[in-house]
C-alpha cells in the first residue's frame, strides 16, 4: 500500500469514529438536503433539465478543440489574453510573471478550486506577494492554514464556535461572536483588501465560446469586487469549463445553483469578457485567462470516462455520498473530494498513488442520481477499480484470493469443497480481523451447523422456509432491525 493510501485509511477511520465531526457534518448536509429539495420544486421537469444540461456538456467536451479555439479567438477580440498551461507549474509561472511585471504586492482571490489544484497560494507566498482569500469560507481556511473541506462549502466541518475562536485568536474579537458578527468582521477586514489590491485572481464557472467570456458565480459578491477594483484580473480555468453559447446559461446557471445549494440562481452571476473598454469607467486594465490542462486531456482520451469532464463542481455528489458523509472532506487528501474526486484524481494525478480512492464507495449510485449533468460516477468508480487491477496496482494476496474464488466458483464440487473449508476455518476462529478487516468493526456471526444446500435438501423444499428460519436462535448483537420486527 502506498503512503497516501495508508494515510487515507487512517484519516477515514479516525473521522468516521468521531461523533462530534459526524454531528457537525450531518447537520450541515441535512440543511443542504432540505434546501435542494425545495430548490428542485422550481423545475417542472428536473430530469429533463439534467438531460439537457448533459447534452450541452457532451456537445462541448466532444468537440472541445473547436470550442477552445473559438473561445480564444473571441477572447482576444474582446481584448483579453489567453495563456495555455499544460501543467500546474506552467500556470503558476505565468501568473507570477504577470504579477512581477506589474509590481503586484497584493492579490485578492475569489473562491476557485482550480487555483487550489495548482497550489497558487503557496507560489505567491514564495514570491513574497500577499494573497487574500475573499470568499468567507476560504478566508477562514486561510486563517486556519487548512485546505478546503468541500468544493462548495470550504468550512463545512467547523462550528460557529470554532470560527469565533479562530477570529478571537486572530483579531481579538468576541469569543462567542454570532454568525452575523463573524461575517461582519470578515466584511470589514476584506473591504480594505479589495480597495488596495493590485490584482484579482478568480476561477471560472463557465467559459463561453461564442462570446469569449467567463462566468463567476458567488453569493457574497467577492467575485465581482475582485474583478472591479484591481488593475489586473487573471482567471484560471480548466479547459473543460467551456459551453458553446451564451444562451446555454439560461439552463446552466439555475441547474448549478439548484445542485450547489438549492437556490434558483446564485446571487451574483457575473460575465466577464475582457478588460475595461475605453468607454467604461472602471474594471481592470488587463484581463488574462489561463486555460489549464494539467491531466485533463488524459481523462478526455478515456472515452469511457470522458463524461467526468462534464462536472460543474456543484458538490452534490459529495453531499449525497454515504462515504463522504462519514469520513468528511479532508480524509481524501485531494483537491476534489468525494465521488467525483475519486473518479478524476487517478487521471489528473499519479494513478498508482490514488488508485485506492475508487474503493471508498459503496457503489450505491447516489452520486450518479444527483449529478446535474448525469455523469455516470459510480460506474466510473468501478471502471477505475478495474483499471487499477489491469495496471496491477492491486495487492498480490488479493489477486490470489480472487483466483481462488474463481476456481471455486467454476464447478459445484469445488464450491461445496470451498464451503466446507470455509466453515472449518470459521469454527476454528481463523477468520480474525487480521485476515478479514471487515470484522474489525463488526461481530462475525457463528457459522451455521449445516450448509444451505443441505438444509434445502432436508427441509426447505417441502416445509415452510420462513418458519424454520424463525426457529433459529438469535444471538445478542444480531441485526436489531430484524429482532424488532419479529
Amino acid at each position: 500500500m502506498t503512503a497516501i493510501a495508508d494515510q487515507f485509511k487512517r484519516a477515514a477511520a479516525e473521522k468516521a469514529a468521531d461523533p462530534h465531526h459526524r454531528a457537525v457534518l450531518q447537520r450541515a448536509i441535512a440543511t443542504y438536503d432540505a434546501a435542494v429539495a425545495r430548490g428542485k420544486t422550481r423545475f417542472a421537469d428536473w430530469q429533463n433539465a439534467r438531460a439537457q444540461a448533459a447534452q450541452i456538456k457532451w456537445e462541448t467536451i466532444n468537440h472541445l478543440d473547436r470550442y477552445l479555439e473559438q473561445f480564444e479567438r473571441q477572447m482576444i477580440e474582446n481584448g483579453g489574453r489567453v495563456f495555455w498551461a499544460e501543467t500546474a507549474e506552467d500556470a503558476r509561472e505565468y501568473i507570477l510573471r504577470i504579477a512581477r511585471s506589474h509590481n503586484v504586492r497584493k492579490v485578492v482571490k475569489s473562491k476557485s478550486m482550480t487555483t487550489e489544484e495548482i497550489h497558487l497560494n503557496a507560489a505567491f507566498a514564495v514570491a513574497e506577494i500577499q494573497v487574500v482569500e475573499t470568499d468567507l469560507g476560504e478566508y477562514i481556511c486561510q486563517i486556519r492554514g487548512e485546505s478546503p473541506y468541500h468544493i462548495v462549502t470550504p468550512v463545512m466541518h467547523l462550528t460557529k464556535a470554532d470560527i469565533a475562536r479562530t477570529f478571537h485568536e486572530k483579531f481579538g474579537t468576541a469569543p462567542d461572536a454570532t454568525a452575523e458578527e463573524l461575517a461582519g468582521i470578515a466584511r470589514a477586514q476584506l473591504r480594505h483588501e479589495f480597495l488596495t489590491a493590485d490584482m484579482g485572481v478568480t476561477g471560472a464557472n463557465f467559459l463561453i465560446a461564442d462570446t469569449g467570456m467567463i462566468t463567476i458565480s458567488t453569493n457574497e459578491g467577492n467575485g465581482r469586487l475582485s474583478v472591479s477594483l484591481p488593475r489586473i484580473h487573471i482567471a484560471v480555468a480548466g479547459i473543460e469549463k467551456l459551453i458553446p453559447r451564451l444562451e446555454d446559461l439560461a439552463l446552466m446557471w439555475p441547474v448549478l445553483a439548484a445542485s450547489g445549494n438549492g437556490q434558483a440562481v446564485t446571487v451574483y452571476n457575473t460575465l466577464l469578457g475582457g478588460p475595461r473598454r475605453d468607454s467604461e469607467t472602471d474594471g481592470p486594465e488587463e484581463f488574462h485567462v489561463v486555460l489549464l490542462d494539467n491531466g485533463r486531456t488524459r481523462l478526455l482520451a478515456d472515452a469511457e470516462q470522458r463524461d467526468a469532464l462534464h462536472c460543474l463542481r456543484c458538490g452534490a455528489c459529495l453531499n449525497a455520498c454515504p462515504v463522504y458523509r462519514n469520513i468528511g472532506g479532508h480524509s481524501y487528501g485531494t483537491t476534489y473530494q468525494g465521488p467525483i474526486g475519486s473518479v478524476i484524481t487517478p487521471h489528473l494525478r499519479e494513478a498508482r498513488e490514488w488508485s485506492h480512492l475508487p474503493y471508498a464507495s459503496s457503489l450505491c449510485g447516489a452520486c450518479s442520481d444527483v449529478c446535474p449533468v448525469r455523469i455516470d460516477i459510480h460506474h466510473h468508480l468501478l471502471h477505475n477499480r478495474r483499471n487499477a487491477v489491469r495496471l496491477r496496482f492491486d495487492k498480490t494476496w488479493e489477486r490470489w484470493a480472487f483466483r481462488a474464488w474463481l476456481w471455486a466458483m467454476q464447478t459445484p464440487q469445488r464450491y461445496v469443497l470451498a464451503g466446507k473449508l470455509a466453515r472449518v476455518a470459521l469454527r476454528l476462529g481463523l477468520v480474525t480481523p487480521l485476515v478479514n478487516p471487515w470484522t474489525q468493526g463488526r461481530e462475525l456471526p457463528e457459522p451455521p451447523q449445516h450448509t444451505f444446500r443441505l438444509w434445502w435438501r432436508n427441509k426447505g423444499r417441502d416445509g415452510c422456509p420462513q418458519a424454520s428460519v424463525k426457529k433459529q436462535p438469535r444471538r445478542a448483537g444480531d441485526n436489531a432491525f430484524y429482532q424488532h420486527h419479529e
Binding site: 447537520r27 440543511t31 417542472a44 421537469d45 429533463n48 433539465a49 438531460a51 439537457q52 448533459a54 457532451w58 468537440h63 478543440d65 477552445l68 479555439e69 481584448g79 499544460e86 475573499t134 468567507l136 467547523l158 460557529k160 454568525a179 463573524l182 461575517a183 470578515a186 466584511r187 476584506l190 479589495f194 467570456m213 453569493n219 457574497e220 459578491g221 467577492n222 465581482r224 469586487l225 474583478v227 472591479s228 479547459i239 451564451l246 444562451e247 446559461l249 439560461a250 439552463l251 446557471w253 434558483a264 440562481v265 446564485t266 446571487v267 451574483y268 457575473t270 466577464l272 467604461e280 469607467t281 472602471d282 484581463f287 490542462d293 486531456t297 478526455l300 482520451a301 472515452a303 463524461d307
Partner: protein, 192 residues
C-alpha cells in the same frame, strides 16, 4: 506559434478520435412551470430574496433619505427620478443605477457596465437602488439573454451581471447572513 497551445490542441484532437457514448436525448417536456403575471412573479421572487420593492414617490424619498453619500450612474432615467449623486463610488453608502432588464422568473436584475455606470457602482456601496421601468420586465432568463444578444451582439460591454437579491453567505454552519461583501440591501423602484 506557442508550443503549449499547439500541444494541448493536439492532445485534445488525439483524445477525441475515440468516440464517447452519447447521453440520453432530452425529452420535449417543458423544464420550467409557467411564469404567470410578470409583475406579480417578480415581486414575489424579489421579496422572497429580501429585496425591497419601493412603491410610489413618497416611499422612494423615504428610502433615499436614509443615506448620506449617494453615487449615481448619471443616466437619464436615474437623473430624472432621483437627481445627481453627491459622492464617488468608493465612499458612497448607496449606489443608484439603471438596468438592462428584470427577470420575473427569478426576481433578478440583469445589468451591464453600460447600464449601471461601470462594475463597482452596483456592488461596492453597501446598498444598491435600481431604477427601472415596468416594460423592462421579461419572463425568464432565456428572454433576458435574447434581449442582451439583440442589444450588444458584436460590441459587448466588458461585464454583465445577473443580480438576484442582496449579498449573502451561509458559509458558517449554513446560517444565512445578509450582506457578505456586496450590498446588504437591494431595492427596485419602478419609475412611472
Amino acid at each position: 506559434m506557442i508550443p503549449s497551445r499547439e500541444n494541448i490542441i493536439a492532445r485534445v484532437r488525439a483524445a477525441l478520435r475515440a468516440e464517447a457514448h452519447r447521453p440520453t436525448q432530452p425529452s420535449a417536456s417543458p423544464i420550467w412551470p409557467p411564469i404567470g403575471d410578470l409583475e406579480t412573479r417578480f415581486r414575489d421572487e424579489f421579496e422572497a430574496l429580501r429585496g425591497e420593492l419601493i412603491v410610489g414617490a413618497d416611499q422612494l424619498r423615504e428610502f433615499i433619505n436614509q443615506f448620506g453619500c449617494i453615487a449615481t450612474d448619471g443616466s437619464e432615467l436615474v437623473r430624472t427620478t432621483v437627481g445627481d449623486g453627491n459622492a464617488s463610488v468608493r465612499v458612497a453608502d448607496l449606489g443608484v443605477t439603471g438596468c438592462d432588464c428584470l427577470i420575473a422568473q427569478t426576481g433578478s436584475v440583469f445589468v451591464t457596465t453600460r447600464s449601471t455606470g461601470g462594475r463597482a457602482l452596483s456592488v461596492l456601496p453597501p446598498a444598491h437602488l435600481v431604477i427601472a421601468r415596468r416594460d423592462q420586465l421579461v419572463p425568464d432568463l432565456a428572454s433576458g439573454f435574447a434581449l442582451m444578444r439583440k442589444r450588444y451582439d458584436g460590441h459587448w460591454p466588458s461585464s454583465l451581471a445577473l443580480i438576484t437579491g442582496p449579498s449573502r453567505t451561509a458559509d458558517i454552519e449554513k446560517i444565512l447572513v445578509m450582506g457578505a461583501h456586496g450590498p446588504k440591501r437591494l431595492a427596485v423602484y419602478f419609475e412611472g
